[in-house]
Amino acid sequence: MIGLGIESTAHTFGASVISNEGNILSNLKDVYRPPQGSGIHPREASRHHSDVAPKILKGALKQAAVTYQDLDFIAYSAGPGLGPCLRVGATLARFISAYYNKPLIPVHHGVGHIELGALLTGAQDPLVLLLSGGHTMILSAQRKKWRVFGETLDITLGQLIDQFGRSIGLASPAGPQVEALALKGKKFIQLPYVVKGNDLSFSGILSAAKKALKSVSVEDVAYSLQEVAFSMLAETAERALALTKKSEMMVVGGVAANKRLKEVFENVAGRHKSRLLIVPPEYAGDNGAQIAWPGVLYHKLGYRVEPERAIIDQSWRIDEVEVPWRN
């Protein structure tokens, strides 16, 4: 059995062919780059996706040495994300599914990050830190759902870093550049540290960091921003580990590629005798395989939707998603 996964949630258009056993036969993507200092423009991003889609899809099939006829299913990212972008992937998936008469499977983008992470790291029943552009959540699987232990009450960690980056004129996604600046920072300045139970709030850090730029070097602000935000996240992760006693902690999503974050979480995991698993950097960002792999898991259990009911949902919440393979 092989399947195709199409990802088009935000800035990335990706396609991947994957086998039943989870061998990633191809995983191609093309990332929309907004002008420096600005964020993703949904319409421009969706145009980019339409432009690159034929090349990426053809490339993914070619690299996997298969044709559309060989596929057993088509999976697409159904949300959450930017409407115009999601629609590009969904429209293509509906078309391919209808034309070649293949089962169609909607996949939640966040579930994709988690399940691909589990496939690649071998995690069995981890406490999950989902740190992507759209999510900052701590989760654990119970009774066929990914349940939220804690999450941000306003903006995500990814947005905090990205919006800070944009405010100093960097291009989005600005994570790697902010990380590089932070490495050069030396002086720590206090920024609002807001933890409420297992929930977090990052919006105060963003405002305070922008304000601090008037009197403190950009390197020091970037450094302090990372330290405060990562410490907050570490504290909530520690709470969740102390309560659940999970033996594995897995970090997935674009922010997982940050090296300082890794250092912090190695320490956190060690304190609670848990094993830290981090999704490999090349799979941390959005990609087609994160959609294709849950596609396999759903397909094995006979899940599918008819093309006319294959909608998208910009605000689809992760703890509403049925994940029947997780008990």
Partner: protein
Amino acid sequence: MEKLISRGAEADIYIGKWGFLDAVYKVRVKKPYMVKDLDVFLRKSRTIREAKMLRAARSFIPTPYVFYVGLKTYTIVMQFIEGQVMKDIIKSQPELSYVAGKYLAKLHNNGIAHGDPNTSNMLLDIKRNTWLMIDFGLSYYTERIEDYAVDFHLFKEILNVQHVDVYDQALNAFSEGYFSTSKITKDKFLNKVEEIEKRGRYARRRNFEF
């Protein structure tokens, strides 16, 4: 000598003696991953806050008695309670969360938000058959309904992730306990809770019908 009994998110808990009394030593330990300034700031402010708020809350609900606060060692020494946490017994008795709701409302009525209400912070004193509320390190004085609503949301969140099996019953009992005591009208308050939950990312409640 004190004996380590648990390692929480921010503190190690030891059991020992204070004079001739059994005592709990709550020690906020250094976090090696944290910048020193931040680490010291958090440990100090939370130790002070917790000791202060444990005493303040005691006027309204049962909390452990504080014997001593060590600001140099970030330690609070308090009364040892032989008991069980709600987390471990709620599965067979979901109606127990009524008392958590009631205590939380009492704090709110008196201008205190707990900051971390959950089933691990409710302790049953077996000898006296009384519930106590603990872990006040994140609590604060506030008059804002929004802050009270966050407390309510946090407890709900914990039920959903820690006690899925009895979620509905436990939430009902918690809510009943809360509104039995709260001075705020139910509709107004629950609207605020919903508003907070919607403010989080991706609040749409729906699913694909496969």
